[in-house]
């Protein structure tokens, strides 16, 4: 595809309510005789059917999902491992991430360059990496290379070499990236927010590690992590595209079937700290904007309140509603984007409201965000506002099953989070069943405006007086060059 600089209007919708004009005034009507009229009626609605897919479990415990889809002659494979930075041991943050980047950098029988040569030559693409709860390898090839790709996937997942030279190379890449990230306000705001919310729980530490933890990681750490977690009964494979289900399962059996299952140790991590009010400012004197994050710990994905809580947070700052966008952008022009999201992970989760605004309007923006969070917790949402959010979430369901990979993502999600697969089919009905009472209940249960974690990254000396004027005091200021997420005080030690 052509590379382009795209400047978008922004993903977040505008004001609530019916937006059709019922009168004609203040209009610069270039076309003078343009009719004043209501919007057209919709056509008859069409049935929405979730496309066919199959889920089977091999004898060794590997869960295999197939989605047959024959429009384009391509097949993609998505391998998900139920292991990520949550498995990183204390002092070794970065092990899961480094393992992820090293998977395609050489196996016991193929060098890094041989893997690259092979996948590039067949016009495929290969990517590996990790997050907090999972690691992944994604491969996409044209259908005539499906067999080759499955062999390669199996080799990468089962037999990574972890060659010393490759480890050093990846460490250097990560260190340099961290050096750049250390001056990126968006990255700093995100990682510091997680650190405040989750403390020294692995969710609170940067996935890629820090220069100190990276230096401490050895080849044996990577091998041990891989051996413990990369076992078939801890993995899910989705095969998607221009093949039949039977071909997919047969190929999975061929390349993974003989791999023996192994015991999986449950995750042992410390609890995140109870939520407490903490405001941390990272001072970056040359910043022209302030990055703001406000939120706190909430609930994991597999929680019976998840859907209602997700809707509540969408009313605060998601598609279909978004009070923050209306108040900060549409009404006041303070930002390009303001949003909130429920970040529900495997073990626990949080909600976070975020924006960026010019230095001069930092205090105003923060005040408005915190007030909107308080309002969500304090006031019952109107039926109208809730139904707008529901209309978007339920109505947009067919948009989320358009491409083969969209379909696979839906199935992978329920399998990964161990939710009943029927949930896909009942999604729209479940969304529509949520009531204003449900929203009020979950907002009261999980939103504590007096215990918010707040991060501001920007030119502190310019905006600190504003904060005091709008009622915020008792904050910590850390100069950007002294920030250390591994320290309890968040500052580099003496």
């Amino acid at each position: 595809m052509r590379r382009r600089v795209l400047l978008g209007f922004g993903l977040l919708p505008g004001v609530l309510g019916v937006g059709f004009a019922v009168y004609t005034s203040a209009v610069s009507a270039q076309v003078s005789n343009w009719p004043s009229e209501p919007p057209p009626q919709p056509l008859p609605a069409r049935a929405v059917k979730f496309p066919p897919y199959e889920v089977r479990t091999l004898v060794n415990g590997l869960q295999v999902i197939t989605v047959a889809h024959h429009e384009q002659p391509a097949v993609s494979m998505r391998m998900v491992v139920r292991a990520g930075s949550i498995q990183d041991l204390p002092g070794k943050a970065g092990v899961a991430s480094l393992t992820g980047t090293l998977l395609d950098q050489g196996t016991t029988t193929k060098s890094s360059e041989q893997i690259a040569d092979q996948i590039d030559f067949i016009g495929g693409a290969l990517g590996a990496g990790s997050g907090s709860d999972l690691s992944f390898v994604n491969v996409v090839v044209m259908k005539d290379s499906f067999g080759v790709a499955m062999e390669l996937l199996s080799d990468i997942v089962r037999n990574p070499a972890f060659a010393v030279e490759e480890i050093e190379r990846q460490k250097q890449q990560t260190m340099s990236s961290l050096q750049v990230s250390a001056e990126d306000p968006d990255y700093i705001a995100g990682t510091l927010f997680d650190r405040l919310v989750y403390g020294f729980h692995p969710y609170g530490l940067p996935n890629s590690g820090t220069p100190q933890t990276l230096a401490a990681i050895t080849r044996a750490d990577l091998q041990a992590y891989h051996k413990r977690n990369f076992v078939p009964n801890n993995m899910i494979l989705a095969i998607v595209g221009d093949i039949s289900s039977e071909e997919g399962f047969a190929a999975a059996e061929r390349v993974f079937g003989a791999w023996p299952r192994a015991a999986i140790e449950p995750v042992k991590v410390i609890d995140p700290p109870p939520s407490a009010r903490r405001i941390v400012i990272v001072d970056k004197p040359d910043a022209v904007q302030t990055e703001i994050r406000v939120g706190q710990i909430a609930i994991p994905r597999k929680h019976s309140d998840y859907l209602a809580f997700d809707l509540a947070v969408k009313i605060l700052g998601g598609e279909g509603a978004n009070r923050l966008h209306r108040v900060l952008r549409s009404e006041r022009g303070l930002t390009y984007g303001a949003s909130a999201s429920a970040e529900a992970r495997k073990e626990t989760g949080d909600f976070v409201a975020e924006t960026d605004t010019r230095t001069e309007t930092t205090g105003e923006a923060l005040r408005l965000m915190v007030d909107e969070i308080s309002k969500l917790q304090r006031e019952r949402v109107s039926l109208r506002e809730l139904s707008d959010a529901q209309a978007y979430l339920a109505g947009s369901f067919p948009l989320t099953i358009e491409t083969p990979n969209d379909i696979a993502t839906q199935v992978l999600n329920v399998v990964f989070y161990e939710l009943p697969v029927e949930e896909i089919g009942t999604f729209r009905e479940r969304v529509q069943r949520v009531t204003p009472d449900d929203i009020q209940r979950v907002a009261r249960a999980y939103v504590r405006p007096d215990r918010l974690s707040i991060v501001l990254v920007g030119n502190a000396s310019e905006f600190v007086p504003q904060l005091e004027r709008v009622g915020f005091s008792d904050f910590e200021i850390v100069p950007i060059e002294e920030l250390d997420l591994m320290s309890a005080s968040l500052r580099r030690g003496p």
């Binding site: 937006g19 890094s112 978007y392």
Partner: protein, 449 residues
């Protein structure tokens, strides 16, 4: 993950082709797009492509205006105007377009490039009439309100701060273009300058709408689950009543004189690591040379085995990230390579290594194996970028608007498959010369020189 981390994850290895590489026959040929194209009496172009696999529809309106149409002192205006299109029209309240579409389960947005401004919505198929009606309403009767304009200008200034000024390397593209062009408006960034955004007036808004947001400058594309006859009837009903423009759309854009000697620039930015850029002016999108140039981008940078990835990032560890590719657009643009220099390495070494890669294309050409690889990668991109209705609409509209020839939406596949190693070497010799080269060293603030 941030872009530099993502790019850093893309590594490559040495040049030994020790894998048994089975030469493949021509890449798998993807199915052709089925479509119809028609022009209404008022000049509006309409493209329809049915796809009944999911009950949704994508509706886009491409206006053939972008930042290259801006006049001096008004940089950023095309994009600022894009934002104004959400400020309501005769039958649609201000700021409600997005929420109306969301209220029926749809998504909508807009974007501006140097060449085009695009408004789109993807929504459940039975709401297609709503999207068409709303797009026609704002084409014909945009509301223009002083207070809304001032507020939106602040939003766009925040967008500039967010995208360009407040993140490491955010200004990279701006610096490259400012130093590579003298007269053509590609010199300035689509987001514009703060001063020009401030200078824009409400009169500019009215004038821009009258000049460029007219049927003959617009292309409506609909892809998805609909009936073509019914869709055409609706497009005619809602857009057909927008009158034909009374004056032609201006196309008087200054051209760039050819470079005659190398331009070298050293600047400082508050970035953590130095950046080195080597840029060459090239041709326009659709020119016969543009296809070998696309192939060249793949040979240099697609995949870990591509030349720049393997040599500069992997083997020599000169760059944290590096790429070389053509930005091929409606008017002649640039082919450029960028290296973010690793700590301990020098910008001079990076420059030398980048230029060596361009020289190798000229002197040594490319191997048949590299050609085959690039074509297979091209076929993959071609197939994977035609999965969603939105992607199909983009290809169709791009062919119609930028190439003024919708058949290229499919025809380009065969052009690429016929491109040869000799073509790649020929265009390298045509464009990658030391007399038309821009070399930029962008150093961290305070670097001793």
């Amino acid at each position: 993950m941030r872009w530099y981390l993502r790019l850093a994850a893309c590594l490559a290895v040495s040049i030994v082709a020790s894998v048994a590489l089975t030469p493949m026959q021509a890449a798998v040929r993807p199915p052709k797009l089925q479509y119809q194209i028609t022009t209404l009496p008022n000049g509006l172009r309409v493209i329809l492509s049915e796809d009944h696999s999911t009950p949704i529809v994508h509706v886009s309106v491409w206006y053939h205006v972008g930042s290259k149409n801006e006049r001096a002192g008004r940089t950023g205006f095309a994009h600022l105007f894009e934002h104004m299109m959400f400020k309501g029209s005769k039958n649609v309240e201000p700021e409600s377009h997005t929420s109306i579409i969301a209220g029926v389960g749809g998504q909508s947005n807009a974007y501006t490039t140097e060449d085009i401004t695009v408004f789109w919505q993807t929504l459940p198929a039975h709401y297609m009439p709503l999207a068409l009606w709303m797009e026609a309403d704002r084409m014909a009767t945009l509301r223009v309100d002083e207070a809304a304009f001032r507020r939106e200008r602040e939003v766009v200034k925040e967008e500039r701060r967010m995208r360009i000024e407040n993140q490491p390397y955010g200004r990279l593209s701006e610096i490259i273009y400012d130093n590579s062009f003298l007269t053509h408006p590609y010199k300035h960034p689509t987001i514009g300058s703060m001063a020009d955004l401030e200078a824009a007036s409400i009169a500019d808004v009215r004038d821009f709408h009258r000049t460029y947001y007219v049927p003959e400058n617009a292309t409506v594309t609909i892809v998805g689950d609909f009936d073509s006859a019914q869709a055409l009837q609706m497009v005619t009903q809602y857009f057909g009543r927008v009158p034909k423009a009374t004056r032609p759309v201006p196309r008087d854009i200054p051209t760039e004189a050819p470079m005659t000697r190398e331009r070298r620039v050293v600047v400082e930015e508050a970035w953590p690591l130095p950046a080195v850029v080597v840029a060459y002016p090239i041709t326009y999108d659709g020119h016969p040379d543009s296809y070998p140039l696309h192939v060249t981008s793949k040979i240099l940078s697609d995949g870990q085995s591509a030349r720049i990835s393997r040599e500069l990032i992997y083997n020599r560890r000169l760059c944290l990230t590096a790429f070389g590719s053509g930005n091929i657009t409606e008017h002649p643009n640039l082919f450029y390579a960028v290296c973010i220099v690793q700590p301990g390495q020098t910008p001079e070494a990076a420059e030398k290594a980048i230029i060596a890669e361009f020289d190798k294309l000229k002197t040594g050409g490319v191997t048949e194996q590299e050609m085959q690889r690039s074509q297979n990668q091209w076929a993959r991109d071609y197939i994977l970028s035609r999965e969603s209705n939105e992607e199909k609409a983009m290809h169709l509209a791009h062919a119609a608007v930028i190439h003024n020839d919708i058949t290229t939406a499919d025809g380009e596949f065969d052009i690429f498959m016929k491109t040869t190693a000799a073509d790649v070497q020929r265009v390298a010799r045509t464009y990658f010369n030391d007399t038309n080269r821009v070399v930029l060293h962008i150093l961290p603030k305070g670097t001793p020189r």
